[in-house]
């Protein structure tokens, strides 16, 4: 039979039984739609999360104190194996390292005159705006100066600026954080949430000040940004050797952005498959429908 | 028992209307034995369906036992039909998946008779048509004459007062046909009113009243 003939024969057969065909198609297409929609949602989520992670580029290595990965709390807990500012500064001098951002997070009340607000404090380095792609609405970011002897300067998140200095330009004004005085040098542009953290409510101060403020002996994390022409394995190896030389043994953990992405990708792929599987049940039932109808048609 | 007055019925076949019954009036008394004959398309089957309450007239009146049927609701007509009228068809219309017994039992099931009396009634009518031994056979295991006798048993299991037969011998050889005729005539002798639509001159002649239809009208009515 020629293709045209067989096609027209099939269409005629379908048209003769159009209610039957229509219902079969409806059942099956609901199944397909369920599967496609759910897997699209899963895939969309995956793309979204991966984009969030790669927006700073993939040439990042995170260095945390301690050898074990303790559900991401490694740097947050106390440690007997501290990671110091001079470690961070020393890594900054390595070849191919473009920027180093030490991180010490905490929670404190920020006061300006009569107004005050408890919020998240991020102790960082002056390169943070560049590597985290933070945009400023007013003034400038923390200066890139000696990590260990920083001045008491602060950059406010957008929301916090509105809370503390409604309608005023805060640059040059002073705020109190945990009893210490900081001069405002800049205000961030609105940024929204990043992975559940509201950047607009953050306050950025130099890491060394943050360590003093919170009485911490160790940095929580050091983010190292390196030359994109160098592979992350090579870079991680160099940093590992360098740190072992400094500390005497491996009492830290290095996680490359590639590893984070791979793990994320795995988790989210499983999620996508699960969602698709959920939709596939309806498709399966639709398939059973087609089998049944075909069978009846054959018997007739 | 049956009083048809000026019955009209028109079917729409494609674009052309077909007048199946024109002004038909007919009285049938209890216990009569009628044959309805006539060429194809003369309206004899329509007349039978009308009498059997399967069809509704476009105009005219139909009194069944002095009850005006044309105004009755479908529900009520179905009950009247089920309780008073038995049908026999040319093609038997037995349900293939059911045994002879179960086929005969159907009308009793529809009217929710108790199981015990059901069994008894079915056994009685099967005995009457001489098929007690075939009760558990399915239609595909029975001959044509046997099939029609099962159909008769089903038609009379409700003890109807009217038996309508549409070409009851049309699909049978003459021997089986005679068997069937013998059974229904015996029922007529026992008091049932019998109306048979047929092409079979032999069957037609045996009736005590002969109706001939042409073009949707009663052409002759002879006793």
């Amino acid at each position: 039979m020629k293709l045209r003939d067989s096609t027209s024969w099939i269409f005629k057969a379908l048209w003769m039984q159009r209610t039957r065909s229509l219902l079969t198609i409806a059942g099956f297409s609901i199944g397909i739609a369920a599967m496609v929609t759910l897997s699209t949602l899963g895939e969309g989520l995956r793309t979204f999360v991966l984009n969030e992670f790669t927006q700073f580029g993939s040439h990042i290595i995170a260095l945390t104190p301690g050898k074990t990965e303790t559900f991401g709390m490694g740097g947050v807990l106390n440690t007997t194996r501290p990671l110091s500012l001079s470690d961070a500064a020393a890594i900054g001098t390595l070849p191919n390292v473009e920027a180093v951002v030490p991180v010490v997070m905490g929670n404190a009340k920020v006061k300006a005159g009569q107004r005050g607000r408890y919020t998240e404090i991020a102790g960082v380095g002056g390169a943070a705006d560049k590597v985290w792609k933070l945009e400023l609405a007013l003034g400038h970011f923390l200066p890139v100066d000696d990590l260990e002897r920083s001045r008491a300067l602060v950059v406010l998140g957008n929301k916090l600026q509105q809370e503390l200095f409604p309608g005023l330009n805060p640059v040059g004004q002073f705020v109190h954080i945990g009893g210490a005085r900081f001069r405002v040098v800049g205000v961030l542009a609105e940024k929204g949430e990043f992975l559940g953290i509201n950047m607009d409510e953050m306050v950025f101060i130099p890491a060394s000040k943050s360590m003093q403020l919170f009485n911490r002996q160790s940095l929580m994390e050091v983010d190292i940004f390196f030359n994109p022409r160098v592979s992350s394995e090579t870079m991680a190896k160099k940093i590992r050797q360098f740190m072992i030389d400094r500390h005497g043994f491996e009492d830290f953990t290095l996680v490359t952005q590639d590893q984070v992405l791979a793990t994320m990708d795995n988790i989210l792929s499983v999620l996508t498959y699960a969602a698709a599987g959920l939709g596939a049940i309806s498709l399966l039932v639709g398939g059973v429908g087609i089998t049944t109808i075909l069978m009846i048609t054959v018997t007739e | 028992m049956i009083k048809l007055t000026s019955i009209n019925k028109t079917y729409q076949i494609g674009d052309t209307p077909l007048r199946a019954l024109r002004d038909v009036s007919l009285n049938i008394d209890s216990g009569e034995y009628l044959s309805v004959m006539g060429p194809s398309g003369s309206g004899k089957s329509t007349l039978l369906n009308m009498i059997g309450l399967l069809d509704r007239p476009d105009s005219g009146s139909y009194l069944f036992d002095n009850v005006a049927t044309e105004a009755l609701k479908e529900e009520r007509r179905a009950r009247l039909r089920g309780e008073n009228i038995g049908f026999i068809f040319q093609s038997f219309h037995l349900i293939n998946r059911l045994t002879a017994f179960e086929n005969v039992e159907l009308p009793l099931i529809l009217t929710e008779q108790p199981i015990k009396s059901r069994r008894q009634a079915v056994a009685e009518v099967l005995d009457m048509v001489g098929l007690s031994a075939r009760a558990s056979h399915k239609p595909n295991q029975l001959s044509g004459g046997q099939l029609q006798r099962v159909a008769i048993a089903r038609a009379i299991v409700m003890r109807p007062r009217l038996l309508l037969a549409d070409e009851p011998t049309g699909n049978l050889d003459s021997a089986s046909g005679s068997e069937v005729i013998e059974v229904i005539e015996r029922l007529n002798r026992d008091g049932i009113t019998l109306v048979a639509v047929t092409h079979d001159q032999n069957l037609g002649d045996r009736a005590t009243r002969h109706i001939r239809m042409v073009d949707g009208q009663i052409d002759s009515d002879q006793r």
């Binding site: 509201n198 009492d251 049944t292 | -």
Partner: protein, 403 residues
């Protein structure tokens, strides 16, 4: 028509079309089973969390240093604040009526070593109350001594996994381990117990709270956990805790108090929502099954025109015909549902025997909901075919004419 008669009538039809019936049953069964199975996953997760929490006791409050003023924002997790939450703060809370036990917690990571074997583990500094609040018990030896409340004793309790890693099968009690730059004597080993709220209790080191302060060179508490009396008013105690700490911190309310109940409620509502969403998605398959039933019923009606005509001729009313066809779908859905339920429960039993620790069990509403949706879908999609059957003209139907 009596119910038994109708069922047997429908059953004879099923027998006649065995394969078709089997496929329809499979369609309904798959739908019902998937709703039950998938919701039991969600419900299992909820029960798992529930059990984890209730292992702690429902009357636990957690005090965290720091505060977040963002409405609906996450509690401060870093534990670093300018004004430390101290051991003295914690012990003051004991005076609040209704508070049964106060467990201060200093948390960190340290290296624990025996001879050349060393491991880095999460180290918690606390006192005896920690065992009360977290419902922990030792499998060997004893818990931290009463004196650890104030004294920086050089003693420790090991998690079972840590004990195995350091000592193998050898006896650990009474032995010395190196923790950071100190030496401590092992006084107990925790009983075997899995993860608890994300913290692997088999792989931790417990030391006296004062010892931990010295070890980490910080007086700052990571958390305070409190056990409160079953009859106590949780909200009132939370307010009092905030008042006491605020007074001690020069008028600054710089802590967050979380109750076990509220955390549990939050988890519960998230997981219940998730389960409902999954159930709804799985129900789509029942919709598809309904469409399939409609399709088959329509075919069935057109195949059985003569039969319908006959039934009408022998006295069946339109209502009875409609009932017959609806009944056929209902019977199909009932049998399919039973098959689906049996299938789901046998799979659940199978998986439960594979993973006994996960409480796989459908929520109470799952079976009625699945069957309900199946019936709704089956009935809704049967109305059109049943009406079509009931509306057939008996004269034409008897002749087998397609209208």
């Amino acid at each position: 028509m009596k119910l038994v008669d109708q069922i047997s009538f429908n059953w004879q039809i099923f027998q006649r079309h065995g394969l078709r019936t089997f496929l329809l049953l499979a369609a309904v069964g798959i739908g019902v089973a998937s709703v039950i199975l998938l919701t039991s996953l969600g419900e299992g997760a909820r029960r798992y969390v529930d059990r984890e929490f209730s292992a702690l006791g429902n009357r636990v409050l957690i005090v965290l240093p720091g505060r977040s003023e963002t409405t609906g924002g996450a509690p401060p997790i870093y534990g670093s604040v300018p004004r430390d939450l101290t051991l003295e703060d914690a012990y003051t809370l004991e005076k609040i009526p209704g508070v049964l036990a106060v467990a201060p917690i200093v948390a960190g990571t340290t290296t624990v070593a025996v001879d050349s074997r060393s491991r880095e583990v999460i180290t918690l500094g606390s006192n005896q109350s920690f065992f009360t609040v977290r419902k922990l018990a030792v499998g060997a030896g004893q818990i931290l001594p009463a004196r650890t409340r104030e004294d920086a004793m050089a003693v420790c309790v090991l998690g079972v996994k840590l004990k195995r890693e350091l000592f193998g099968n050898a006896r650990a009690l009474g032995e010395w381990v190196r923790v950071g730059d100190r030496r401590m004597r092992v006084v107990g080993v925790l009983e075997e117990r899995g993860e608890s709220l994300g913290l692997d209790m088999r792989d931790i080191l417990l030391i006296p709270v004062r010892t931990a302060e010295q070890l980490f060179n910080s007086p700052s508490l990571f958390r305070i956990m409190l056990d409160i009396a079953p009859s106590a008013d949780s909200d009132l105690i939370q307010t009092k805790i905030k008042a006491v700490i605020t007074e001690r911190h020069e008028g600054e309310e710089d802590i967050t108090v979380i109750s076990q109940d509220s955390m549990l409620a939050a988890f519960n509502s998230i997981l219940t929502t998730l389960t409902l969403v999954i159930a709804a998605i799985a129900s789509i398959s029942l919709l598809v099954a309904g469409i399939l039933i409609m399709n088959i019923s329509l075919i069935s009606v057109s195949q059985r025109r003569k039969e319908i005509g006959l039934l009408k001729a022998i006295g069946a009313s339109s209502r009875q015909i409609r009932q017959l066809f609806l009944g056929e779908s209902l019977l199909l859905v009932s049998l399919g549902s039973v098959a689906g339920i049996l299938f789901a429960y046998s799979l659940i039993a199978f998986f439960s025997s594979l993973w006994p620790s996960f409480p796989l069990m459908p929520p109470l509403w799952a079976v009625p909901a699945a069957v309900g949706v199946a019936f709704f879908s089956g009935l809704t999609f049967s109305i059109v075919p049943a009406k079509r059957a009931a509306g057939l003209d008996p004269v034409l139907a008897l002749r087998g004419v397609q209208e």
